[in-house]
């Protein structure tokens, strides 16, 4: 246990590697931050220097500011920081999202960040990285969460959109603006109708297009284009726009949310939605167990989410040395995520 606590440990500012003197996804200002991905609870502003994957760099820049000092490292490439070997590997969470592999004196720790194993046409596929210690998220670490193949979800979404189109309703699909929105865009069938996006989604689309991902043609839905979406078309928007005047200008709508939380009826009914589609960019229960097994790690640190259940299961059933790392991801959601503190899926 001692080595697991020394290579990567928890500090007030975030996950910390003492030997390399750097932090991973810290939530308080530090000198050197290694960032797994661009969601705002992982990529926070005010760090002196950032290191992230090359393909995720434009998105991280979008989050932490134009003037921030950010360097990129290609997936699989290694770098020595104060004698500690560091490399980034795809996490399958969103474009450029990474697991960070840290090796020191023959001991390997992989910080998974947010990840998923399911197919995703909008980002690099998860890579299983063997290690001694694996630090996993636990956002959906309960066995009730078991994802369907994404194609069948897209089929349902397109079917719902088609029905709305016939009924003369605008389809509004609430999705997290970075990652989920682009994944959904890549699954929509543009032959059904026009696709509109909220500004918050649009900001990130250009980075996906630049990286060559198949985002279909979209229109920014606004006051100027509202006629194109009244009683028709689909609009992808962040959940915080529900009940907003911005949304009301498009007239009669059918509203749906796409998120892993939609598994549970209560979370859908609470939001007063017409539909909930279950699609997550986080790993489900079986996925976590598969990932843990794949890495061969003996030590498993569990961060944000349903850590209790996962830790107990890993100890009792899988015979792992598992423990909770009480990180602040999600708990102190910043500005734009305030409304959907739990919706970063």
């Amino acid at each position: 246990m001692s080595r697991t606590q020394t290579l990567v440990c928890l500090r007030e500012e975030g996950l910390y590697c003492p030997a390399g003197d750097f932090f991973i996804d810290p939530w308080k200002p530090v000198q050197k931050a290694l960032v797994t991905h661009g969601h705002s609870d992982h990529a926070r502003p005010y760090m002196d220097a950032y290191l992230t994957s090359s393909s995720g760099l434009p998105i991280v820049r979008e989050r932490v500011g134009r003037s921030a000092h950010i360097e990129g490292l290609d997936f699989g490439q290694t770098l020595k920081i104060n004698g500690v070997q560091v490399s980034f590997h795809p996490a399958g969470h969103l474009l450029g999202s990474s697991q960070i592999r840290i090796e020191h004196k023959g001991f390997v720790c992989v910080v998974g960040g947010d990840y998923k194993l399911e197919e995703d046409r909008s980002c690099e596929a998860f890579e299983c990285v063997p290690c001694d210690q694996f630090i996993t998220e636990s956002t959906f670490a309960l066995p009730i969460y078991s994802w369907e193949p994404s194609d069948s979800v897209f089929q349902s979404i397109n079917e719902w959109w088609r029905q709305n189109e016939e009924a003369g309703l605008t389809s509004v699909l609430f999705a997290y603006a970075l990652g989920k929105a682009q994944r959904v865009l890549c699954g929509l069938d543009p032959s059904i109708g026009r696709i509109g996006v909220h500004g918050a989604v649009d900001i990130f689309n250009k980075h996906y297009l630049a990286a060559g991902y198949p985002i279909p043609e979209t229109v920014r839905a606004s006051r100027n284009t509202k006629e194109q979406f009244q009683g028709k078309g689909i609009i992808i928007a962040p959940g915080s726009t529900q009940n907003s005047p911005w949304l009301k200008q498009f007239g009669e709508r059918s509203e749906a949310f796409v998120s892993g939380w939609m598994t549970v009826r209560g979370s859908r009914r609470r939001r007063g939605l017409d539909r909930g589609f279950v699609l997550s960019d986080h790993v489900d229960w079986k996925g976590i167990l598969k990932a843990v097994e794949g890495t061969g790690a003996e030590f498993v640190g569990v961060t944000h989410g349903y850590a209790d259940a996962l830790v107990r299961w890993l100890k009792e059933t899988e015979g792992k040395t598992a423990y909770e790392l009480n990180t602040l991801y999600h708990a102190i959601a910043s500005g734009e995520d305030e409304e959907n503190g739990k919706e970063l899926s």
């Binding site: 309960l142 066995p143 009730i144 078991s146 549970v264 009914r269 609470r270 229960w285 708990a331 503190g341």
Partner: protein, 540 residues
């Protein structure tokens, strides 16, 4: 089962009344009378009683999905719905997809061939049967099955809406349909056809009339009652009794007593049911069952009444120690004729006439307020409610008919202001239903010296936005956990409103309050300034 499962999820998917009505109508018109009858039975909230034990159901699910009890408990805390939790866990294992889900039987056949025979079987055999059903069902159907056998079937359609859909199909007034469906409606094809053709004769069946319900009257300080409600003389003012609303159907040979929840009360209140009054023909009264103090001739507290109604067996002893009366305030049927369409004033006149000839100490006529002095006098009377041991006043428009359900503008309940105290949030638990996964069930404490003692739980009163932000606060201010309960930093103060307070040996604080709810979040108050036990005890 497929059609019924689809009905459930289609209803669940929309929150628009118009769509729900259309979905219900389409379903009733497309299935057999037998299936429609059973669907109606479940949608109205009736349940198959004593089918299987919930603890058994959990065990079978645990066997099926291979997860231990603690994991099922953890998942349940998160989902907030047992039927749903078990369906999700079993599906994660069986992976039965929508297309592979093969249960062809219609609802009625399914209930009679698969569910009702479970009754009385040994739990092992029951388990095998349920597990084999689960293995043939996708998550959605498994969920509906679990709902049918655990009861508590709620799908966001009110009984009123179901009645409206049926009334449209039968082309009758919803009030007529509502009346036909009162009481214990037996689900059968024949009864369903009778409903639609209007054959079910109302008067012979002893069914209660739908209750007329009042809206709470909420007036701001600056508002004037005369501008809001017109002349006081247009209204009939009565005390609002603190008992159990009930309807008394009096026929020549029997008395039938129905609660507002449509439960027969005859067994619990035999002394009222056995009174057969000397009167001409049948009549139906609306009123309140109250615990009564015959010595001082005043009403006793609701908790006294509860003591009595909570018993399974009504002994002579309890009849003696908690005597009951029926306080009548409206007349719905007179001499076998439905008089609900007459005005409130006219019904009152007839009610008084009827009571002039009734002689039983167990039947009382609720007084109306003398209107000398207008609204000012009425408002003053309301302030005396607590000393008169009533909840406030009822305002009934003199020219209004006896309505069905809750209609704005004809009946108002004007309750006395609740008591309020400022209390500190100490424990939180995740809620159920639409509050699943959110910390929405709270325990509040007040000061006893320099320690905080828990004094009530409250579940409602916050807006969704407030609840969300309290939820987030709880997640990052948890001190310790005991199963599903989080102990939090005693920092947040809320104003708690409640109706009454009484001594209680069952509560740590020594007091119990009635209907506690959150009035507002006192963001301006630090925990040290919350109220004390002494200040609450002073209300006793």
């Amino acid at each position: 089962m497929r059609a019924f499962t689809n009905l459930y999820f289609e209803l669940d998917r929309t929150n628009k009344t118009k769509s729900k009505l259309r979905i219900l109508r389409d379903y009733f018109l497309s299935v057999s009378d037998e299936d429609a009858a059973w669907a109606l039975f479940f949608l109205m909230g009736q349940r198959l009683k004593r089918l299987v034990k919930t603890s058994d159901l959990k065990r079978w699910a645990s066997d099926s999905c291979g997860f231990p009890d603690w994991m099922i408990a953890d998942c349940y805390d998160h989902v907030g719905d047992l039927a749903e939790t078990l369906a999700l866990l079993v599906k994660a294992k069986t992976k039965v997809s929508h297309l592979e889900s093969k249960v062809e039987a219609g609802l009625s056949d399914f209930v009679s061939s698969a569910l009702l025979p479970l009754r009385g079987l040994g739990s092992e055999v029951q388990g095998e049967r349920i597990q084999s059903l689960w293995n043939r069902m996708d998550c959605a159907m498994g969920f509906v099955l679990n709902k049918l056998i655990t009861g508590g079937f709620r799908v966001g359609v009110s009984k009123t809406l179901v009645i409206k859909a049926l009334a449209e199909i039968a082309e009758v007034d919803p009030a007529v349909m509502a009346h036909q469906l009162m009481g214990n409606w037996e689900p059968s094809g024949a009864n369903y056809r009778a409903l639609l053709s209007g054959d079910a004769s109302k008067q012979e069946t002893g069914k209660p009339y739908p209750f007329c319900l009042a809206y709470p009257l909420e007036i701001k300080k600056e508002e004037r009652l005369d501008l809001l409600l017109g002349a006081a003389s247009d209204w009939q003012i009565e005390p609002k009794w603190d008992g159990i609303r009930a309807q008394m159907i009096h026929r020549e040979q029997e008395c039938i007593l129905w609660s507002r929840g449509e439960q027969l009360l005859n067994e619990q209140i035999p002394e009222l049911a056995s009174v057969v009054l000397e009167s001409e023909g049948a009549f139906v009264l609306d009123g309140e069952v109250l615990a009564w103090d015959f010595e001082s001739d005043v009403v006793r507290s609701f908790s006294d009444l509860q003591m009595r109604l909570g018993r399974k067996k009504v002994t002579a002893e309890i009849q003696e120690s908690v005597p009951i009366i029926f306080m009548a305030y409206d007349l719905l049927e007179e001499g076998g004729v439905d008089v609900r369409s007459l005005s409130t004033f006219e019904r009152r006149k007839r009610l008084e006439r009827l009571f002039a000839s009734l002689e039983s100490p167990l039947f009382r006529l609720s007084p109306t307020l003398e209107l000398v002095g207008g609204w000012d006098a009425i408002a003053a009377e309301r302030l005396k409610s607590r000393e008169k041991r009533v909840e406030g006043l009822m305002l009934k428009h003199g020219e209004s008919a006896y309505g069905v359900g809750r209609k704005k503008g004809t009946w108002w309940k004007w309750k006395v202001e609740p008591y309020t105290v400022d209390a500190v949030l100490v424990y939180a638990q995740q809620g159920h239903g639409r509050r699943a996964g959110v910390f929405s069930d709270y325990t509040f404490s007040i000061w006893k010296g320099d320690t905080l003692v828990p004094f009530c739980k409250a579940y409602s009163g916050l807006s969704d936005v407030e609840m969300k932000s309290v939820d987030r606060w709880i997640r990052s201010n948890t001190v310790s956990r005991h199963g599903p309960v989080r102990v939090v930093q005693p920092d947040l103060v809320f104003e708690i409103a409640f109706e009454s307070v009484q001594e209680s040996s069952r509560h740590k604080s020594g007091i119990a309050v009635r209907f506690p709810r959150i009035h507002r979040w006192r963001k301006d108050k630090p925990a040290k300034d919350a109220d004390t036990l002494d200040s609450v005890r002073a209300l006793l």
